[in-house]
């Protein structure tokens, strides 16, 4: 009986995972089409951009040859297929205008730093955010109400302040009080990179990158806990003689942390975007810096490659967050089977 029930559960789970994965495919397709069309919509011929002023030295025949080599004489759908198939085929995704190297290779070089930065700040966002949010809510519902009133404006400040501005202040403070602490880049020049030195480099930028998100998570968790604490089941548990902390930790905590998973999927685009600014402040050579360099150099193939890479990472991680969400909360699964999930997640995320 029990085994039967479990089996049935797994099948619905599998169906949901499959359905969600399938719905991610057209989204990936859309992002790649979008990037491609943007690239095509640029005023000016790619050949002009590539050659710059040296075009005058080439005969029109040579220019024609170059256009042929770049595949610009092909019809648009064919160009799109060649471009997008370069992703898994030749590993190119177009070529950088700057040095003619495959875009995927250029992106690969920078990927590690950004992913490390974003991953660590994701941990910070939810680690710090959830702890602070719980502390705020628990302080509000116990004797330390004053503490909660004191802390809330601080959290609000971190939510409202631009992260790169906080980074200016943090750098000034670290320079004054911790003179030996490494600030710029990800590696000590002239020294081999150890795990410790890497962590030392990443901790400050990751903290600042996560400042806004942590504050948002903290405010969200606080609101969730306070909302749950007013529910009837809390009153029932209390009247049955359970102590206040026991109710909070055993029942309220669980119910209020589930919707936080929805914030997880929404966090990544914001963190990747914020990383552009934080990488600039801290001189980290990552994807964000690459995007800024490509913007200044009008290096459109690199921009488009970045859009596709960012888009895929975000879509896949949203998928994982969705699946995680319905693993944890059976109510979501029912809603998902009836097809209304993404709406409900958005609603929770926006709250």
């Amino acid at each position: 009986m029990l085994a039967d029930g479990n089996l049935g559960l797994d099948f619905t789970m599998l169906a949901i995972v499959l359905k969600r994965s399938l719905s991610a495919v057209p989204l990936l397709f859309f992002v790649s089409i979008l990037a491609f069309l943007l690239m095509k919509a640029i005023p000016g011929d790619p050949v002009d951009v590539l050659l710059g002023s040296s075009e005058k030295d080439l005969s029109s025949q040579q220019v024609q040859l170059l256009r042929q080599q770049m595949g610009l004489d092909q019809p648009l759908p064919k160009q799109y297929l060649t471009w997008v198939s370069g992703w898994w085929g030749a590993g190119e995704l177009g070529r950088s205008y700057r040095d003619g190297r495959p875009v995927l290779e250029v992106i690969n070089e920078r990927l590690g730093n950004t992913f490390l930065l974003v991953f660590v700040s994701l941990l910070f966002s939810f680690g710090v955010g959830i702890s602070v949010g719980l502390a705020l809510a628990f302080a509000a519902s116990t004797r330390w109400r004053a503490l909660s009133h004191l802390l809330l404006p601080v959290v609000l400040f971190f939510y409202c302040a631009p992260s790169f501005w906080l980074a200016f202040l943090a750098i000034s403070a670290v320079q004054a009080w911790l003179p030996g602490w490494p600030i710029l880049g990800m590696h000590d020049p002239g020294r081999s990179t150890t795990l410790f030195s890497l962590m030392q480099h990443v901790v400050l930028p990751a903290l600042l990158l996560s400042s806004r998100k942590s504050a948002k998570v903290a405010l969200f968790v606080r609101a969730m806990v306070l909302e749950q604490a007013g529910r009837d089941y809390v009153l029932v548990a209390r009247s049955k003689g359970l102590s206040q902390p026991a109710v909070l930790f055993r029942h309220v905590l669980r119910n209020s942390l589930i919707p936080v998973i929805a914030l997880l999927g929404l966090a990544l685009p914001a963190l990747f975007g914020g990383a552009v600014l934080i990488e600039t402040v801290f001189g980290i050579s990552g994807l964000g810096r690459l995007a800024v360099e490509a913007t200044f150099g009008r290096n459109y193939p690199v921009m488009m490659g970045l859009i596709v890479i960012y888009g895929s990472v975000v879509i896949v991680s949203n998928l994982i967050a969705d699946i995680l969400y319905c693993l944890v909360d059976p109510r979501v699964k029912e809603e998902m089977e009836s097809g209304g999930l993404s709406q409900s997640i958005v609603r929770v995320g926006a709250a």
Binding site: P26, L27, F30, V31, L34, L38, A41, I42, P43, G44, L156, F157, Y159, C160, A161, P162, F164, W165, L166, F168, L169, I171, S172, P269, A270, F272, G273, G274, V276, L277, T280, V281, A291, V292, A294, T295, F296, R298, Y300, M303, M304, L306, I307, Y310, G311, V314, I315, N318, Q343, V346, A350
Partner: protein, 309 residues
């Protein structure tokens, strides 16, 4: 009917001290922006290097007639902040207006069309939302700032924007507004879409349909006004998002440039003198941006229960 609704709205909206704080702060910032020309008739010092007074550079807070000090070019920070308020608020409000209008029309049309058109239109929104908005803004900014663009615009537009051979006029401002709106409308489109889907099946819409109301009239008279409340909240939040985005772009060197001082531009130039120990040039604009974002969020928090029926 109408009167009781506004009355009800007012009662709900007024509750809570955070809303009052938000409104007070926002009013202060708006007054700053409006009164800037009274404090000094010109936005900043002339930009020629010969006019830079090195004696006046990097004066700390409270020193020699400069209440909040000066930046590394000797510009008074109070004056910069006052004039910056105009530009920053203008960018925020124009962007929010444009983005919410476009998003509302897109979302309403999509929900109204239904079927395959709806699916394609909303997948486009989902796809764009998957890309970090700053990356999209950078891409568009590199298109918009390309020199070909100002040659493509008709002379009437260029005249209206006061573009001359020597000055870009208001073109950078317009470019920033368009570029930021181009990524900011997505959430508004989703909200409008969800609202209209909920309203669409209600009886008064069916009645209007039965009476033969056209699409445009249906949208403007029935769908949009009834879906407006959450969109107004969204518009407020977009003002603060746009100001943050503009400050980020200015910091990256892709903002409005030195002829139009904004709070973001002040932050960008303050970074130069930060190493030399001038922290006060960075303090004021940062505090102002944070205050603006805070005030809008506080008002929004009071607004959400008020518009939620």
């Amino acid at each position: 009917m109408r009167r009781s609704r506004t009355e009800c709205f007012r009662r709900k909206f007024r509750s809570g001290p955070s809303t009052a704080i938000g409104i007070t702060l926002l009013t202060l910032l708006a007054v700053m922006a409006v009164l800037a020309p009274l404090a000094s008739p010109q936005p900043v010092l002339p930009l020629s290097p010969l006019d830079v007074d090195l004696q006046a550079a990097n004066i700390p807070i409270g020193g020699a007639g400069h209440l909040l000090g000066t930046d590394y070019l000797g510009r008074d920070i109070v004056m910069l902040a006052l004039w910056g308020a105009r530009v920053s608020l203008a960018v925020g409000i124009l962007t929010a207006g444009l983005a919410v209008t476009f998003g509302a029309v897109w979302g309403t049309l999509s929900a109204f069309a239904g079927g395959a058109v709806d699916a394609v239109m909303m997948r486009l929104v989902d796809g764009l939302l998957a890309v970090p908005s700053l990356i999209l803004v950078l891409t568009l900014q590199s298109f918009v700032s390309s020199p070909q663009l100002s040659h493509m615009l008709p002379p009437v537009v260029l005249n209206a924007l006061r573009v001359t051979a020597y000055s870009q006029g208001l073109l950078p401002l317009l470019a920033i507004v368009v570029v930021i709106s181009a990524t900011a409308w997505l959430e508004a489109a989703r909200i409008a879409h969800a609202q209209v889907l909920a309203i669409k099946s209600q009886e008064y819409i069916l009645a209007a349909q039965a009476l033969g109301t056209g699409t445009i009239r249906m949208m403007t008279c029935h769908l949009l006004p009834n879906a407006a409340a959450p969109l107004i909240v969204e518009a407020g939040l977009l003002v603060s998002d746009a100001v943050l985005m503009e400050s980020g772009l200015s910091f990256l060197g892709l903002g409005l440039g030195p002829s139009m001082p904004s709070w973001g531009g002040m932050l960008a130039s303050a970074q130069v003198s930060l190493i030399g120990g001038n922290w006060w040039a960075a303090l004021t604009p940062g505090v102002l941006i944070s205050t603006l974002v805070l005030s809008i969020n506080l008002i929004g928090e009071g607004l959400i229960p008020a518009v939620d029926h």
